[in-house]
């Protein structure tokens, strides 16, 4: 039987300057997995997500979501950017940021109404940030900002979630809370893709893993491929192998 893939990436190559940052990536992510992308700093993890989401234009390659081109399937995909990518001094409140998650389904010009507000409050509740709803975002701690970003993605009510280092700078309690939310999402049949740095927690948190370092090293179930061999190939001394043409 042919398996249904949530995300299919074909021959994806990305370069910022001359040197390719991602080289010929083929990736098939099955539906309803909780997957992490691991790799050293500068491996291209963030770039991979950005290229999949069309934020960066790849040099070559295609991305499809449930078998159709990504452009047609945007509403099925939610994104949690790396926290440092925005200016947290921006004059707005936590609730307001979460509401931005509803803008996509609203489309141009239409304003969010009661329905959107209710959904946003629920998302805030889910991440335990309801008491902070009217707080200025500049006055939130790093972990709280991270949870606001998560809530904003939850509001999108997507089928696939891409998250860039959602555990960055959060304490152990928050990390557990976030991973529980992610596990719930998977249980509800959603596909969750997370850039993750803490190799120790990989087997506990995730059921699928992709090793990335410019090239894709391996991808598959954690229990099958999360081993020293792949880790060495990804993180080993000679991981800065130059890309062969």
């Amino acid at each position: 039987m042919e398996q249904k893939y949530a995300v299919t990436v074909d021959d994806l190559t990305v370069a910022y300057n001359y040197k390719p940052v991602l080289w010929d990536i083929d990736l098939m992510i099955p539906e309803s997995v909780l997957m992490c992308i691991v790799g050293p700093n500068g491996a291209g993890k963030s770039t991979l997500i950005k290229a999949i989401l069309g934020i960066i234009k790849p040099i070559a390659g295609t991305v499809s979501i449930f078998g159709k081109p990504y452009e047609k399937q945007r509403s099925l995909v939610a994104y949690v950017p790396q926290k440092g990518s925005v200016d947290w001094d921006f004059p707005t409140t936590a609730l307001d940021v979460v509401m931005m998650g509803t803008y996509g389904s609203l489309g141009w010009i239409k304003r969010p109404g009661q329905k959107e507000k209710k959904a946003s409050l629920e998302a805030l509740e889910k991440v335990g940030m309801l008491p902070f709803k009217n707080r200025q975002i500049s006055q939130l701690s790093g972990g709280q900002q991270q949870r606001i970003f998560l809530a904003r993605a939850l509001v999108q009510n997507a089928a696939i979630y891409f998250m860039d280092e959602p555990f960055q700078g959060v304490d152990a309690t928050t990390e557990k809370a976030i991973i529980n939310i992610l596990k719930e999402l998977r249980k509800a049949g959603k596909t969750v893709i997370v850039v993750h740095h803490d190799l120790q927690t990989v087997p506990e948190y995730f059921d699928w893993v992709t090793f990335l370092n410019v090239k894709k090293i391996a991808t598959g179930p954690v229990k099958d491929i999360f081993n020293d061999d792949n880790l060495t190939k990804t993180y080993g001394i000679n991981y800065k192998v130059s890309v062969q043409e």
Binding site: L53, I55, Y79, M100, I109, R111, P131, S138
Partner: protein, 345 residues
Amino acid sequence: MLGSFAVLRKQSLLGDAISHAALPGIAIAFLIIGVKDSNLFLLGALISGLIGTFWIRGITKNTHLKSDTALGLTLSLFFGFGMLLLTFIQKQPNASQAGLDTYLFGQAATLLIEDVWLIAIVAGISLLILLVFWKEFKILLFDEDYTKTLGFNTNFIDILITTFIVITIVLGLQTVGVILMSAMLLAPAAAARQWTNSLGVMVVLAAIFGAFSGVVGTGISTVVGNLSTGPVIVLVAASIVFISFIFSPKRGLLFREIRFRKNRNNIKMQKTLAFMYGIAKTHENISHPHTIKILNDFQGFSKRSLQELVDFNYVKINGQQWSMTQEGYEKAANLYDQQIKDTHE
């Protein structure tokens, strides 16, 4: 008003670049038509302003130059070219009637009633656009990448914002001139940011500050006489910024200092109380008197905080002895819990 967006985009130099870029447009418009017609001048300014702006966008997108560099480059290039043309024009016989130099520093007195109308109409249209695309503007300014993933055409929103900034600047040129225009664009917005944490309020405040500077500046320059209007307007706007940075209750330097001192005293007092609590706890009777001397060993102790503790009725003083009240005891016992709660509120 639109300055708010420029400030939030951290593209403060943009205003400068655009207004300088507009100069050659004015000069070229004059060279082509040969007479002074402020509407055509504006059109020329608009075109060259837009060219300059999109040039900057092109440079930053396609090369590795930082946007500051691109802005600076474009700014000096266009301005230099504009000045060159201006000098050339000045040598022409009909230069005197052109009055092109008013565009350098601006001269509100040269405004005709039609000009004022034009400004009013354009301001109205920008306001309308701003209201219509409010949500799109806001999300683009906060998180451009995310906006893209939601399916919005971020280029379109960006061009819309930029175009309106350019139009606003070009219209302002006649009033405050090329050199001071960017100050006029940014000052009200920077001042407004000090007073509020809401984008909506910020934009409205910026508009009010801008209008206020315009009216008061024109007023002063008329009353005092012989002062050119533009610089006076900018000075008024600058004073508003100055006042805002010092006095605004939320972000201002003055109130921050006051709050900080109050807070520090408060913490000192609490620490003293906690220290006393530690001593009092060792006795069965919590109100057992102790000598004040022990407190001298404690670092955070000051006469003032002791007095405050007495004022709060947490502590009683009797000669050289102090004793804790029941109230103070409970307060101290709850102190830690209270603090944890406060920081997590």
